[in-house]
Symmetry: C2
Subunit: 269 residues, 2 copies
DNA sequence: CAAATAGTGTCTCTAAGACAATATCAC
DNA sequence: GTGATATTGTCTTAGAGACACTATTTG
C-alpha cells in the first residue's frame, strides 16, 4: 500500500493520449451607421469579429479568433490572450457557451474547443500574429423554414451564409448542427449560433448589454443595444420602466444633439 | 507555398504540450422518505451522487463521478460513459456548467475538467470500477452570512460541509470560489455549487424538472420536484396554472392512494 | 418655429399570488 | 364518515404593452 506522495511520483499522465485544447471567442459589438441628418439617431447593428485565416487548414477562410491553451493559464486566460494577440481588442467578461469535441471537427487532429461569447466596445481592431486580417461582420440570425436557422454574416461585399438545425433542446444552452457551413472554418458556424443564442438569452434579462456601452449612457442607448441584439422593438416608456431596476442616475446630461438633452445613467450595483 | 495536404502531413500537434481532460458529472435525483401514514404524501429531498475515491489523490474522500476523455469520444460521451462505469446509472440529458482549468487544481498535473449537471431517475446505484462506493447525499445549498454560500451534503452519519463565495457575476452562469472544501476532493465543491445553480435556474423555468419523473406523472409530483429543487413552496392552484403550458393530459389516473385519484400528465412537445 | 429625441402619466390586459369551495377515493 | 389529496373558480395585485401628452434642445 503506497501513500499519496509515492503514488504521485509514480503517476504518469503522459501514459495516456491527450487532446489539444483551444479557446475560440465570439466577440460581439454594436456598430452605428454614420448619421444621415444632423439630428437623426444613427441605426445600430450587431457585429461579430472574424479573422481571415492566414494558415492551413481553412486557409483564407473566415474564422473565430482563438488558439491553443498553454500550460499555466486558465481557459479564460487563453481566450483573452488569443483575442488580444489576434485583434488587439480587450473584451469584457467571457461567457462559456459550449465545448466542441467531435473527434473529426479539426483536420489537424484531436482538438477540442472551448467556446466563449464576449463583448468588445472598441470599434478598432486589427489583424495580429496568426490572423491575416480581422474584420467586423454584421450579424443576422433568424429561423428559416421548417425549424432551420440561417446565420448571415456580412462585411462589405463578403457574405457568409450558414444554415443550422437546432439540436434536441439541451435544457438551457442551445446547440446547433451545421447543415451548411457557409464557408466558415471548422465548426465555427455552430459556435457562433450557440454564442448568439446565449447572448440573446442574456440580453433579454438585462445581462451583458451594459458591456456594449461606456461607463455612463442614456436609456435610449441602452434600449438600442437590447433591441439590436434581440431584433425587437419596444416602446420607450415601457423600456424605461423595466430598465429602472438595473440602472442608477448620474448628474450628467448629454448635449449638442439638436434635441432635448438626455440624463446619463450607469449600471446599478 | 505548400497546399493543405502537405501542410497537414507536416503538422505535429505533439510538438506542443497538451493537458489531460476529464468530464465530471453532478448527477441529481429526488428521493422520497418512506411514507409514515398510509395516505400521507412522503417528503421529498434533492440528492447528489458522490463516489468515495478508491485511489490517490484524495483517496477515501468523496468526489463527483467522472474520468478521463478518451480518443474518439465527445466530452458528453465521456461523461455518460464514466457515470455508467462508476455508478451503473443512466443519466438524462447533460448540461455543461463550466470548465475548471486552474493549473493547480489537480495534484496529478495539468488536468482540465468539463463539469456537467445531470438528472438520474433510478434510485439504485452502486460502486463500479474506479469507485469504492457510490452513494446519494442529501443536498442543502443556501446563502450564509455576508454573501457566502454553505453547501451541505448529508448521507447518514457522513456530513460534508463546504463554504463558497460567489464570484463576480459572470453574466449568466454562476461561478464560485472555494473557502472551505468540506473535505470534498479537488475543486468539486465549486463544481457542485455551479451545477446546483444551473439546475435551479433551469427548474424555475420548467426545464430539467421532467427528467426527475417517469414518462407520466401527476401535477402534484411535478410540483414537488420543482419545490424541492428551488426550496420554495407555492399554492397548488397557482402551480397548476403555470404548469399547464408545459404538460398535456393523458387518459390515465392514479389509484389506490387513499384519496381522490389524480390524472396523469406527460411533458408536452 | 420645426424636427427630433427625452421623459411622464395612465389605461388596459394578462399573469401571479391568495384563498375558498368542491370532488373523490381507501379505510 | 374521516382524512387525505385532486381540482376548479375567483378576488386581488403587480407587471407588461399601448398610447397620449409634455419638455427641451439646435438650426
Amino acid at each position: 500500500m503506497q501513500n499519496e506522495q509515492e503514488f504521485l511520483s509514480n503517476y504518469h499522465l503522459e501514459d495516456y493520449e491527450r487532446p489539444s485544447v483551444t479557446a475560440d471567442v465570439a466577440a460581439f459589438t454594436i456598430r452605428r451607421t454614420s448619421e444621415e441628418s444632423y439630428r437623426k439617431e444613427p441605426e445600430s447593428r450587431l457585429a461579430l469579429l472574424l479573422i481571415r485565416r492566414g494558415a492551413h487548414p481553412f486557409k483564407d477562410c473566415w474564422a473565430l479568433p482563438g488558439g491553443f491553451l498553454q500550460k499555466g493559464e486558465t481557459i479564460e486566460g487563453c481566450a483573452l490572450r488569443e483575442i488580444r494577440e489576434e485583434t488587439g481588442a480587450a473584451p469584457a467578461a467571457l461567457r462559456l457557451v459550449g465545448i466542441f469535441s467531435e473527434p473529426e471537427r479539426d483536420p489537424r487532429g484531436w482538438i477540442l474547443s472551448a467556446a466563449f461569447a464576449s463583448v468588445i466596445t472598441e470599434g478598432t481592431v486589427q489583424g495580429g500574429d496568426d490572423a491575416a486580417e480581422a474584420q467586423w461582420f454584421d450579424v443576422q440570425f433568424e429561423p428559416d423554414s421548417d425549424g432551420l436557422f440561417r446565420l448571415t454574416l456580412t462585411h462589405g461585399e463578403t457574405v457568409l451564409s450558414a444554415v443550422l438545425a437546432e439540436q434536441s433542446a439541451q435544457h438551457g444552452g442551445c446547440a446547433f448542427l451545421i447543415r451548411d457551413s457557409g464557408s466558415l472554418a471548422f465548426d465555427h458556424a455552430a459556435i457562433i449560433a450557440a454564442a448568439l443564442s446565449a447572448l440573446r438569452n442574456e440580453a433579454g434579462k438585462f445581462g451583458a448589454i451594459f458591456d456594449f456601452l461606456p461607463e455612463t449612457f442614456t436609456l435610449t442607448q441602452l434600449q438600442q443595444v437590447q433591441e439590436t441584439i434581440l431584433n425587437i422593438s419596444v416602446l420607450p416608456a415601457n423600456f424605461r420602466r423595466k430598465a429602472a431596476e438595473y440602472v442608477e442616475e448620474t448628474e450628467e446630461y448629454t448635449s449638442g444633439a439638436g434635441h432635448r438633452p438626455a440624463k446619463l445613467f450607469r449600471k446599478k450595483g
